[in-house]
Every structure is written in C-alpha cells, then in structure tokens.
Assembly symmetry: C2
DNA sequence: TTTTAGTCGATTAAATCGATAGACTAAATT
DNA sequence: AATTTAGTCTATCGATTTAATCGACTAAAA
C-alpha cells in the first residue's frame, strides 16, 4: 500500500500541473482545494522541491509550481521520493540496492527471482506513466462518462 | 516492501514443500534450519494454517506440513495472508475492496487508474507463480551455477 | 520595515512491526 | 490415568513508522 504522503503528493502534483499556466499556487490554497492537512502538505511539497520535482517562490505572489514539464514527471519518481524504493525486497531495487539479511545465497534465492519480476513490472508501469499521461487519461474518462450521461438524460 | 513475516513464511513454505515426503516438520527444527525466531514463526505458521495453506498435527510425531500440493499454493496467496491485499490502494483491491477516503470521484481518479494497472501486473505474477514454480526455478538456477563452476575448476 | 509566504526542527499520538512470555490444549505414549 | 510432546492462544513489549501539528525562522516583495 502506498502512504497518504504519496497520495497527497500525487493529488497536489496533478493540481499544480493543471494550474501551471496561472503561476505559483499557495500551500494554503492547495491544502484547502485538495483537503490535505496544511502543515503535512508543507513537508510533502518541500520533499518534492528538494528532489527537483517542484520549485517555489517566497514572498508575495509566491507559492509552488512544477519544477519541470508534467510530461517529464513520472509517478515512479514521486513514489520513490516519498515512500522509498518500489522494490518489494531491497535486493532487487535498482535505485537503492541492499542485501537481505535473511538471505543465504542471493544468486539462487527463489523469493528474489519472483520479486525481481514484480519490481520490473511495477517500474515499467510507474516510470512509464507521467503526470500528463495521468491527466490525459482522467480527461478521457470524464468525457466518456459525460457521454453516457448525455444519453441517459 | 514485503514484511519479514511474509519473507519468513515463504522461506518456511519452501522448506516444508521440500520436506513434504518426510512427514510433519517441528516448528523448532524449521526455526533453526531457516534462522527464524521460533516464537515469531509460530504465529506465522498458525496464520498459514488458519488459511488452509498449512496443516498440523499435535503430539509426538507431529509438526507442520503443506495443506495442499505445492503447485496449488501461489505466492500471492501467502502474501495476502501475512501482509494483506496486494493492491497499492484499497480501491483497486479485488480481494479486499475499500474506498479511499481522500478520493472525491473514484470513477475518474487518475491515481486509481495507474494503481489498478500496477495491481493487475503484480497479481498476474504473484498469483501465477506457485511454490513448486519457485523451487523449480531455484533448482534450475543452482544447476546453471554448478555448470559455470564446473567449467572454471 | 512590514507583510507575505516558504523553511526548518522538534514534538506528538497512534499504528504497525518484529519479537517474546506464558498459560493452555490436544494427541500420543507409558 | 499420568506423562510427555508439540501445537494454540492471548497478552505484552520496545522500536520504528506514519500522520499530523507547533512554533520559530528566513527570504522576498511591497
């Protein structure tokens, strides 16, 4: 399960991607709009900023905004910043490898073999999906549903 | 990341699958062989038993043994017993659906769309891999490495 | 120089994780 | 029937993590 931190982060990023043209967004506004505890959101945005995903401006007219294009921010990157590596076991992580203490022989560990497959499958999806993909897919879904409603009215 | 509980469970199950022909295995033996804290292992084996994955016999000559054939025990089943649902968010779980509190409209939630993909990919691998698959693959891997060693000696 | 708004460190409460203790129950043997 | 063997169950523990909050601080505009 992903943490609330990551969920809030994704919600905030989607919002910021949508509002990008209108300049920096205040933490307070974001918190209210997306129903995220403000102080908690501060930590999340700061972490995203420290990892280059967001940028910020202080003082009047300040706030947070995307650090790079929405099409260059993958869901995988966001999860790694807030929840750590995607891998189900440390010994198959590409970004944060560590050996498992319980493991006798990593080279022939059956658990490792399956978990490597799982990691790769997850990474393919999460690193292959960007913020803009997400927004696009949601828009398609909304339109599809509006279509259905049109018929039923 | 999967928990130690799940890792220990998989290690124990692989051991029990290999020892199946020799009858019930004592918790104490299993604990020593696989370097798992005995009291902790008790809880794990009990949980597996209560979910039909293991069976047990009390008294002399007793111990734990597989509740069904190794080819009918999937890794996914084991993980669900000890770590809960595979799904990264409750709203995409097939075995333990629950709505996400943060979510406004589940039908058009972008996070949900990706996480559904992730869950399905994970489930395909984990429910499609059984204990016997695991053992078979380890054996293949061991043979491959022995082959390499033969050449290098 | 005052207002605005992000930054940072410390703290908290609750939940989860990994592990252990001890009493209990069932089955087999003597 | 008594004893030994071995799994069952409940409770508890400390450490870590998660979700959240407080307050003081700093930088940028007006």
């Amino acid at each position: 399960m992903i943490s609330k931190k990551t969920k809030y982060a994704l919600m905030a990023l989607i919002y910021l991607a949508r509002e990008y043209d209108r300049g920096p967004v205040l933490i307070a506004d974001l918190a209210e709009r997306e129903n995220i505890p403000k102080k908690f959101l501060e930590l999340i945005l700061l972490a995203l900023k420290n990892n280059g995903i967001l940028q910020s401006k202080k003082g009047k007219g300040g706030g947070y905004y995307l650090g790079r294009a929405a099409k260059d921010i993958s869901i995988g990157q966001v999860i790694r910043v807030l929840d750590g590596p995607l891998a189900p076991v440390p010994c198959v992580s590409e970004t944060a490898y560590a050996s498992c203490q319980e493991c006798r022989d990593e080279a022939t560990c059956g658990i490792r073999l399956v978990m490597k497959e799982v990691r790769d499958a997850m990474a393919a999806i999460l690193d292959g999906t960007t913020l803009s993909d997400l927004i696009e897919r949601v828009e398609r879904e909304v339109k599809k549903r509006e279509g259905i409603i049109d018929y039923t009215i």
